[in-house]
Symmetry: C2
Subunit: 223 residues, 2 copies
Amino acid sequence: MRTQYHADLARLATQLVAMSLHDRTAVASATNALLNADLEQAEHTIDVCAEIDTMRDRCEKAAVGLLARQAPVASELRQVVTALHLVSDLARMATLASHIANVARRRHPGHAVPDSVRPIVARMGDAAVAIVSSAAQVLDSRDPGDAARLDQQDDVMDELHRELFTTVLGPDWTDGVTAAVDLALLGRYYERFADHAVQVGRRTIFLVTGEDPQTWLKERQSL
Amino acid sequence: MRTQYHADLARLATQLVAMSLHDRTAVASATNALLNADLEQAEHTIDVCAEIDTMRDRCEKAAVGLLARQAPVASELRQVVTALHLVSDLARMATLASHIANVARRRHPGHAVPDSVRPIVARMGDAAVAIVSSAAQVLDSRDPGDAARLDQQDDVMDELHRELFTTVLGPDWTDGVTAAVDLALLGRYYERFADHAVQVGRRTIFLVTGEDPQTWLKERQSL
């Protein structure tokens, strides 16, 4: 019974890593669809995101099943409750990737991203892939130090987000209102995607240390 | 012991209703701050939202405490797990209200909302207050029929959101790129606020019926 229990907990943890790797595929594919105005890739991305939603259902059921059958306490309860939160974050990241793909689809055969901001958007896509890759690794290693470093990767995304807004709202913007509106939303999707990856890190810190992540991070910085 | 348990479950349910009522205050106040370019009200809204975040912490701790001490099963486990999800939705609604207030603050003493779209934004604010009021009532009554009606209220918000985009992206738009970008984000915040209210309804359907809300809603429509 206990062996089954620990096998179930381990399987749940593995499923979370799998979800995060699918999120990585989704956001990389969404960015390609966006930058290349590739309708087929946009639709493929949306399919991947739908699969991630199915994974979410499966993980939630597994977590609730563990609560019902095993009535975990202490660190094992923390694992299951954290898994429930992580599943929401990882599913939301997929939805945000599908929103990015949807912008590409909506503007096809046109390009949603004008040449003037193509390099910034490409870097936002790279930053999204980098941070979700780190989140996947943190889910696997459960290293709170690595989890803390997700914050710095998020700073990169925030800086790109600011740069995008400065360009779109700047005096030299000549690409019109529709592109500006698309980019405002795209910027938000990428930024939120990274925010959820940061949340994955924070929840991992809580999972491992049992401490409030903000408090833990502050104490660590003051060392 | 069991009496205490049921009192704790009831208190958690009451706290969720309280959170939703604070969300209503927050989004009403955020909309006023936005439409009147009122800095003081914008800052007051942001304070209310910070209080809601504290309520979230308290509710999460209460829910996890119930899992640890009482190891609930069946419908009581469903109550606690649903509460964990509801807390996330209700906290997110507060964050979205604070984003709306932040747009007002950022543009102060200017107006973020040009006169041309003021009526639409005012109606989006009204729709947000209406749907969160219904969500609060559903959290209190746990009536799945009322919960299902949140979907129709969300249709109102979606229609307003489309109307806003059509205006901003239309040929007669003369209010510039900055206002267009602000409105794209504001539209998204109101729309997401309503989406989370719908989620409150769906989770209540699951809580009461134990069924998948989508399946339950479809079966109900086919009656």
